[in-house]
């Protein structure tokens, strides 16, 4: 079985600091994988390497068998690698409907049409509406994104990524900063994602990790510390020591 997303000896050095140290992992289609690790473990750097924000010092990244190591971000998206951001990256002046229609139009190579009005392609608009409905955003469809509730913005962040119909979705702390009362909406949406999407969850929140992840990689000091099924990781005394220990104390 070929891996959907694979890294081979990935390494990133900023001068003398090695932020990503020889990371190799391989995810099968439909994986529910979590990437965890204490602060400074190199989670963000790894995400930036995967998405093309940073170029690795050495190593390769394969997406569905294609070598994407040297590709710019937008081309990786085209090949099926989408992400959400830890801090919302949305269009404050556009409505959720406009945002999603644009994302779908981009996927369908229809985003450069400059003569016919936006909204003219009924199939795209219908798909956008269905997605907004699915994510519970239909009630804010026509409001400026800047004015909608934070929890809804987090959902829109996921919706934009889903609109591209990705093969792999990197969720970077999807529930970060969301008030407790709105969290369940985000958890429900993630739980309902189709198995055709391979999920990589970059998370701090252990409750969220153990609810969704079937497999977990623990990063420490830029390198893979352990990886394995979620239940094993939860029992692993070494992981508890470097990471979960502090969490348990915090809770």
């Amino acid at each position: 079985m070929t891996a959907v997303l694979e890294t081979q000896n990935l390494r990133k050095a900023f001068g003398g600091l090695i932020a990503t140290n020889d990371v190799s992992f391989s995810l099968p289609a439909g994986a529910r994988h979590a990437l965890i690790g204490p602060n400074g473990a190199g989670k963000t750097t790894l995400v930036n390497l995967l998405t093309g924000v940073l170029q690795p010092t050495a190593g390769r990244i394969l997406l569905q068998g294609h070598d994407i190591t040297g590709l710019p971000s937008y081309k990786r998206v085209k090949l099926g690698l989408a992400r959400t951001f830890q801090i919302n990256q949305l269009f404050p002046d556009l409505t959720p409907l406009q945002t999603i229609v644009l994302a779908i139009a981009q996927r369908e190579d229809a985003a450069t049409g400059w003569w016919r009005p936006i909204g003219g392609r009924r199939d795209l608009v219908d798909e956008a509406e269905a997605l907004l409905l699915q994510l519970g955003l239909i009630d804010v469809r026509d409001q400026r994104t800047a004015t909608i509730a934070y929890g809804k913005q987090r959902l829109l962040e996921i919706a934009v990524a889903l609109a591209g119909k990705p093969a792999v979705l990197l969720l970077d702390e999807p529930a970060a900063g969301v008030p407790e009362t709105e969290r369940h909406q985000i958890l429900d949406v993630i739980a309902a994602l189709p198995a055709s999407v391979t999920l990589v969850l970059i998370e701090h929140d252990m409750q969220l990790v153990f609810r969704f992840a079937k497999t977990i990689s623990v990063l420490v000091n830029g390198g893979l510390f352990v990886e394995g099924p979620a239940a094993e990781i939860a029992r692993d005394p070494r992981v508890k020591k470097v990471y979960l220990g502090e969490e348990v104390v915090d809770v």
Binding site: F85, L90, L94, L102, T112, W114, I118, R141, D142, V160
Partner: protein, 341 residues
């Protein structure tokens, strides 16, 4: 009749209706163009001023496409305006007297400069953009000054002769043909820009302006899309400059001066950037303000312009169009609540 009324009252309850609504022409817009056309007969003594307004509006429209929609700041937009003016002037002087052909060539040459310089402009921060655009305009101005054997240098380019528009309408000393010609060009390019800003590409530009990190993460090659609009805007500015050269049959270094780049920015801020009508309304307001203030306080008119600019930026961020929209929405709300009680 009911079909016509239905056109002006788009159904905003459905998703596609909401998206399509801004593309519908509003009655006020149509009235505006009819009124502008009627001035040809109603105010024949003002056509010279009206011609200048139409040209300034087109220039501001060009800046609006990059600044208002795509978020690219520029302090050197006169580079394209001036280049278009010199190209059209030189063509008129050296044998190509057909105005439309001259206009198209001037637009194409300006577009070429826009395309080439876009790669310099699109790297870096806003400050870099301001400096690069300013630098390009300064270089062009000095080149025009230096090659005075071609451009006429500080004395200006004289001897520009223009044939009749479409082979039918000779330019006259009162500027009547000039105004009709500029207004027609402005209308056509306004129409095209209006299609563009309401299209998927127009939305894409606004998205890039809003958050380029996100458009990249959506799979959009952000820089490539900005190159396109910068090139289009350069063509628009070049055509505006060409109109000035053709209708005045004279080109001076003034078309490349810094104050032109600054004025057009002022026009856009005054009218309201990010709205096509902001460029048009801003041009009208600016020219009339200039005309009126220069009349009463010839020496201090810039003082008043400065004051208006500061007040607009501080209190009416959407410019005059913003004031209009705020007022309209306020009235609509008042009317609605009043009706419900």
């Amino acid at each position: 009749m009911s079909a016509l009324l239905a056109y002006f009252k788009p159904d905003t309850s459905t998703a596609s209706g909401t998206l399509l609504a801004p593309a519908r022409w509003r009655p006020l817009e149509i009235l505006f163009w009819l009124f502008a056309l009627s001035l040809f007969w109603l105010a024949p003594s003002k056509v010279l001023l009206l011609n200048e307004i139409a040209i300034l509006a087109l220039f501001a429209l060009s800046l609006d496409l990059i600044l208002g929609y795509a978020g690219i700041v520029s302090l050197g937009h006169a580079a394209f305006f001036g280049l278009g003016a010199y190209v059209a002037g030189l063509l008129g002087k050296h044998g190509l007297h057909d105005p439309i052909a001259g206009l198209l060539i001037a637009g194409a040459v300006a577009a070429l400069l826009g395309f080439v310089t876009s790669f310099l402009v699109l790297r870096g921060t806003d400050l870099t953009k301001l400096m690069v655009t300013l630098g390009v305009a300064l270089i062009l101005r000095e080149l025009a000054n230096k090659f005075s054997n071609i451009t006429g240098g500080a004395d200006g380019l004289t001897g520009v002769t223009m044939g009749p528009v479409l082979g039918l309408f000779e330019f006259d000393i009162f500027g009547k043909t000039a105004y009709a010609y500029s207004l027609a060009v402005l209308f056509i390019l306004f129409y095209i820009a209006r299609r563009l800003v309401n299209s998927p590409y127009g939305l894409l530009l606004r998205a890039i302006k809003g958050n380029a990190l996100r458009t990249g993460a959506m799979g959009i090659p952000t820089d490539l899309r900005l190159v396109t609009i910068y090139t289009i805007a350069a063509a628009y500015a070049g055509i505006a400059g060409a109109l000035l050269a053709q209708t005045t049959q004279f080109v001076s270094l003034d078309v490349l001066e810094f104050h032109r780049s600054a004025d057009v920015m002022l026009v856009l801020v005054l009218g309201g950037s990010g709205q096509l009508w902001g460029a048009v309304i801003g041009a009208i307001a600016f020219k009339f303000m200039y005309d009126w203030l220069a009349d009463i306080t010839p020496q201090y008119w810039l003082f008043w312009v400065g004051l208006v600019l500061v007040l607009t930026v501080l209190f009416g961020r959407g410019g005059l169009i913003g004031f209009y929209q705020t007022g309209r929405d306020w009235l609509a709300r008042r009317f609605k609540t009043g009706g419900a009680q």
